[in-house]
Symmetry: C3
Subunit: 358 residues, 3 copies
Amino acid sequence: MKKTVLCLAALCAATAATAQSSVTMFGVVDATLAYGTADGPGSASRLRLANSGYHQTRLGFRGVEDLGGGMSASFWLEMGLNNDDGTGIGTNVNNQASGGSVAPAGTQGLTFGRRSTVSLAGSWGELRVGRDYSPQIWNLLIFDPLGALGVGMAQPFSAGAATLGPTFARASNSFGYFLPANLGGFYGQAQYYLGENVRNGAATEDDGNGAGVRLGYANGPFDVAVAASRTRLAAGDVHQNNIAAKWQLGSARLLAEVSRDRNGAVRGHGFILGGLYNVGSGDIRAAYSRYGTDAAGSPRADKLALGYVHHLSKRTAVYTTVARLKNHGGSAQTLNAAVAGGPNGSSTGLDLGFRQTF
Amino acid sequence: MKKTVLCLAALCAATAATAQSSVTMFGVVDATLAYGTADGPGSASRLRLANSGYHQTRLGFRGVEDLGGGMSASFWLEMGLNNDDGTGIGTNVNNQASGGSVAPAGTQGLTFGRRSTVSLAGSWGELRVGRDYSPQIWNLLIFDPLGALGVGMAQPFSAGAATLGPTFARASNSFGYFLPANLGGFYGQAQYYLGENVRNGAATEDDGNGAGVRLGYANGPFDVAVAASRTRLAAGDVHQNNIAAKWQLGSARLLAEVSRDRNGAVRGHGFILGGLYNVGSGDIRAAYSRYGTDAAGSPRADKLALGYVHHLSKRTAVYTTVARLKNHGGSAQTLNAAVAGGPNGSSTGLDLGFRQTF
Amino acid sequence: MKKTVLCLAALCAATAATAQSSVTMFGVVDATLAYGTADGPGSASRLRLANSGYHQTRLGFRGVEDLGGGMSASFWLEMGLNNDDGTGIGTNVNNQASGGSVAPAGTQGLTFGRRSTVSLAGSWGELRVGRDYSPQIWNLLIFDPLGALGVGMAQPFSAGAATLGPTFARASNSFGYFLPANLGGFYGQAQYYLGENVRNGAATEDDGNGAGVRLGYANGPFDVAVAASRTRLAAGDVHQNNIAAKWQLGSARLLAEVSRDRNGAVRGHGFILGGLYNVGSGDIRAAYSRYGTDAAGSPRADKLALGYVHHLSKRTAVYTTVARLKNHGGSAQTLNAAVAGGPNGSSTGLDLGFRQTF
């Protein structure tokens, strides 16, 4: 079977002279049986069919048009979805708490909240506009051995999201710039986004405005990247900073990440240490991670995660992950939606899943 | 024009060695002018543009990957939609009343609530995970001459849905197993689903958990199937049981179904009797059906439905259905959203529609 | 690259004998940096990433099946979307205020509210059923030099929408008829739509029912069209009437439109005067427009808009538009979501955008 791109009538008609234009439908469906338990009096376990334990379930449409002269235009529309029940996933429209509500159960429709962008690219890099990942989230996604998904998701991602609010992973109304690929291993991006408030002199008029930047260097087995961001809020700016590194050692990939964040007066700190080990058609994944804040009591949780992914093909995999979380300083987090018996307890979770991409 | 499957870039690249992989976009758009009237003082008629009078409107994406050795992986994402106004159709996330709300008018977005599954299949059958049809609904869909849609929809479907709650036709968080196809005419499936409540010892901790099974035998002109299911609820389990049969007699297809259900203390009972008669490019459809319960007064309604579908092509059809419903025992049902003049009245409805598949 | 239509498995199998069947995925992604300011004490400006400043962002699926004998069946499912934040756009289910709510921020899912129709066509014209554009809106879309989008959108569109309610641009539950194409330059359509209320004798039982008609004549450089519509409401019918003309003069296209509307006791009136001038790979667009009503004070606003669209390819364009609005008679409209300093002020807005189609 030869490789075929989905070529649409309108597209093909318009680009007869340029051979590198395409529109692609793509997606992931990932289902996982997720079990979580916690300790302490009053604690309770839970068994669910969850999704996206290894790879975030999604459906998307993207396209590239060659404009000639090294220039190209492209779009990317990508929706998240919960394949355990069919619902979509909401978004946030103004990078502030007021822009992201929770729909009544069973009613959340599909949105292109994962990414909805249009780009112009050339030898100078790429300009990208719309709703997109924030620059600083990439270090938490790429340098987490468990991929920031499922029960093994590193603490700087799972707890950081709760601490840092709506611009933690993505921003709406954003303008991004990406360095070109041919910089001798250097890569990077910057993003500016708008809260879209009226300019009336109110203290909150800059709320939801923000910016982030990420710079990295990849050379052979090494990859290192640093990122920083700030979202303005009258109640206290949100800062998100991290640095991460990778070292490929034969079949082993070692990963490390450190986070230093702030939400108003509260400072957050965390790290990830771990790696992957390739065993033929499978990957062993392990990570130790931590995230805590300097709020009263210095709440913090540490997580140890161990998993295995077995690839039945390039598109299809089965996987399992086990994780153990320990709370300190009044923290009461749990894994896989178990109920905590109180602060400072432990929680254990297990994922058993199946993932297909297309 | 040769048969072509939609082959996506990612898919084709990944499966160069296996020729039987594909991704398919599919759908139905069915519009029907629907008129309903009822009798008695205060009754009122209604005229609407409805949808899905013959075939449920939908849009979906499905794919199969050949894994070699007789194994395959597949996914299926299918949304319902109301093509009379453009809205989507919500879903239920936990198989309980709390998991399915009604969105404000005009705001319900598209969801993959009809089906969102991922499967692994082999000579041993198919394992399917996600939101899917319940096993026991198939006897009400397949053995209803009117296809459980439109004004002629058999009473065990239309009234059963109201009686039996959110797991009547589908379940979220489900694990299904399907027998392989080559069992000498025997077929079957089993499904287990989770309510995903916390295990805290509360009486409701099993609410929304359930299971169903369906077994059938098809041989030449005969097909018979039986199904049973139970959804656990502290307020009273929901049981849904039915048996159905088909007999193909030349151009005539005779169909019969019997339902025996229970929702807590209330027992439901119903039947369908009818058939289809093929007249070249069209089908005459007729059914007499009943559904009632043993609630106070033993409310019950009987329906007589007669329809004709004319196929303009394999994909395109026009159709009409007329139905008459009679209430007993305090029942006050109506057809096509007419308003009842009181209990124990009658209602008449007419559908005139157009259906296209792709 | 040869022209290829997306041919789906089901479709191709069913239409082996007819070569003119197809299913097409199509779309637009248009992002615009939008700035608006207003004058007067207390006025406030706003800067946003908006969308659809030149071309409405959308994603759609449409297909045509050749039925033979000059007949064809087709469907059209088209969703709007906000690519600045990923949300969808709601719809209205009953052509009345009660049928269109606003979803909580960030939760509006995708709907096919732009258009969801199924059609049967032949030499006699086209019958189209579902949610569709209203006939009378086309004169406001086609004869506005700025395309009824972005900061330059003509006043009969932007202010008319607020004045005339949910059937201003589209109707749900509609039945449309379109004249065939070969009438020597004459074209036209009629639409009837249902509010779907129960027929109980209440004064509001006809609310949301309505009809519209549009007739035009195009010959060489000239095009003229007239349209009229009425939506019934017990609180006062909504009437929407307009006439418009185009004159192509070499590279220049002159456009004019006049509106005469009514919502209950309030009469609305407006006009558009403007044109486009093609300068090779770009188009200069200019319009002067007005819309006002005879409500207390005779509120009215006039707008002057000037824009330029530069086509990087047939699919990709960059554009800018500047507009100036002046309020009279107590009106307090603003451009690009600026905040007015009070009635009778002015507002200025700027769009700078990028549009890609596929």
